[in-house]
């Protein structure tokens, strides 16, 4: 039953796509943010494409509400979202700061903390100013996930990565929820 339905749907999509080729500019403009989000959802399983993210950000004032919608969707499909974040983290190291903060807001799961810590793997390959940003966001995510217990982990991570971090990172760390 389902394959026949999706075949029908596929035919409908192809026909509709052909019909939109010559659509007026005002329709294109109105639907543009929705189409960006549609593309985002379509490519989500392969991770986020930097060009698409750039285009969404460029249309920021209109896409921000829709991005909230995407987050709602992500909240309803936590497993798929988690897998997408894993894929994105491995292929787009510069998006790891955002991924750390998103993970902190995801539902609890056994490997959540390990995944957030693993976002620091390869930190030495980042351009000069980015390691500090990534480290502080990972530290913040750990404290959001683990509460006061996370302080010890962030401290030991700081000791491990200190040689890669600029001066001032330590004091930045102390601003987070009274971390010693």
């Amino acid at each position: 039953m389902a394959p026949a339905r999706s075949s029908w749907c596929g035919i409908a999509v192809a026909a509709l796509e052909r019909a939109t080729i010559d659509e007026p500019a005002d329709v294109t403009a109105l639907l543009h943010p929705y189409r960006l989000i549609d593309e985002l959802l379509e490519s989500a399983r392969e991770g986020l494409h930097a060009e698409l993210v750039d285009e969404i950000v460029a249309d920021g004032t209109r896409t921000v509400l829709l991005l909230v919608g995407v987050l709602h969707l992500a909240a309803r499909r936590p497993e798929e979202t988690y897998q997408t974040l894993r894929t994105t983290a491995s292929s787009h190291i510069r998006q790891r700061s955002a991924i750390a903060l998103l993970m902190a807001r995801m539902p609890a799961r056994a490997d959540k903390l390990d995944f957030v810590v693993s976002l620091l793997d390869g930190i030495e390959a980042l351009p000069k100013t980015d390691p500090q940003d990534l480290f502080l966001n990972v530290a913040d995510a750990i404290l959001m996930i683990d509460g006061p217990r996370g302080k010890q982990l962030t401290r030991s991570l700081f000791d491990r990565y200190a040689r890669l971090l600029p001066r001032g990172t330590d004091s930045g760390l102390q601003h987070f929820r009274g971390t010693p």
């Binding site: 019909a19 329709v27 549609d38």
Partner: protein, 130 residues
């Protein structure tokens, strides 16, 4: 709110009980639910349908646009929006664009095809909306 807090779930359960007990109407129930969470796509979609049935097409369209923004995977909201657009004589180009977004979502999520078929009035085929 990204993950629905317990307080909102509790408020929804309370409203649902009141509706089932007949102390508030279905529309009052969902209007109040919308005040609790203005971005709840399900509530927006239900209200869109209610406004449409009551003949208040502008209010229905406004709810459906908000519903698809709150949850772009909600096919029934996309199709409801299309019906509103058709009803007010919006351009075929706009309707086609909206239908394309709905159909692409249906293709991504086969469950939504079943949801959509359940949502259709008895005897209606999805193709009739094209």
């Amino acid at each position: 709110m990204l993950f629905t807090p317990e307080s909102v779930l509790e408020a929804r359960r309370r409203l649902m009980k009141q509706m089932l007990a007949g102390t508030i109407t279905e529309e009052e129930c969902f209007q109040q639910a919308l005040q609790v969470d203005p971005f709840d796509a399900m509530t927006l979609t239900v209200l869109g349908k209610a406004h449409f049935s009551a003949g208040d097409r502008p209010a229905a369209e406004e709810k459906y646009w908000r519903a698809v923004a709150a949850d772009p995977s909600r096919c029934e909201a996309w199709f409801g929006l299309n019906r509103c657009l058709a009803d007010r004589g919006a351009s075929q180009d706009l309707r086609t664009g909206v239908l394309l977004l709905a159909a692409r979502e249906m293709l991504r999520n086969e469950e939504s095809i079943d949801e959509f078929i359940e949502w259709l009035p008895p005897g209606r085929a999805g193709a009739e909306l094209l």
